[in-house]
């Protein structure tokens, strides 16, 4: 089944290779895309419908009915912020619609703390060839970002 992955954030869609982290840039946990978010407070939303199987302040995984997981990582090395500036509006285990709010944050604050707010959106353990129609350029939260075959 082909699933549509929507952008969790508003900003500019960029290739994973442009992410300033070797693990994500090298597609080590899976292929996908990234969003360079607008530097204003915003809410990160579910990229697909499914269960919120992992939720950290700075990252989350939503798993579809058929077991596919999509990871959204809000900024790079943001685990170091220990949750400061991230407010959870969903709970681990929740069943979500695509586009449902999960975390509010401010990419401008992350940048002010010397970290990159660029946010990878990863099709966990997918084959690179299974990802297509990757969007580049301006996106709003909820817009399609790529397809996962």
């Amino acid at each position: 089944m082909d699933i549509s992955i929507s952008s969790p954030l508003t900003g500019r869609a960029i290739g994973l290779a442009e992410v300033p982290d070797p693990v994500f840039a090298g597609s080590m946990v899976g292929p996908g895309a990234a969003v360079d978010p607008e530097r204003a407070p915003q809410v990160a939303v579910a990229p697909i419908a499914g269960r919120l199987v992992k939720l950290k302040p700075h990252a989350f995984v939503v798993q579809s009915e058929d077991g596919r997981g999509v990871l959204v990582h809000l900024g790079i090395d943001t685990v170091n912020l220990e949750g400061v500036g991230f407010e959870l509006v969903a709970a681990e285990g929740d069943r979500l619609r695509a586009g449902q709010p999960i975390v509010t944050w401010n990419p401008a604050d992350v940048q002010a703390r010397g970290l990159s707010p660029v946010s990878p959106v990863i099709a966990l353990d997918a084959e690179t060839a299974a990802i297509e129609a990757i969007v580049a350029g301006a996106v709003a939260a909820g817009d399609e970002l790529f397809h996962w075959r």
């Binding site: 070797p22 693990v23 090298g26 080590m28 946990v29 199987v53 992992k54 950290k56 700075h58 990252a59 989350f60 995984v61 997981g69 990871l71 990582h73 685990v79 966990l124 353990d125």
Partner: protein, 76 residues
């Protein structure tokens, strides 16, 4: 050996591990002696990759990082 045991061995043994913290897809660790880290053994244990800068080693294990870190802590 379990995955957790293999990762401990790959990091040079429990005595070599100073700190181990799970991020969502990786184990962030600090070891006493980086030269004791065996990247091939970590990959054989199921790691997608290993990032090593001196004594700071990140083992990329995917989203089960939390579970693996708990298993490792139970063994240490």
């Amino acid at each position: 050996m379990s995955k957790a045991e293999q990762i401990i061995a790959g990091l040079g043994g429990a005595d070599n591990i100073v700190e181990l913290e799970p991020c969502i897809t990786r184990l962030r660790t600090e070891v006493r002696d980086g030269s004791k880290v065996n990247e091939a053994a970590l990959k054989a244990a199921g790691a997608h990759g290993v990032m090593k800068v001196g004594n700071n080693v990140q083992v990329v294990v995917g989203p089960e990082a939390d579970t693996i870190a708990n298993d490792i802590e139970d063994l240490m």
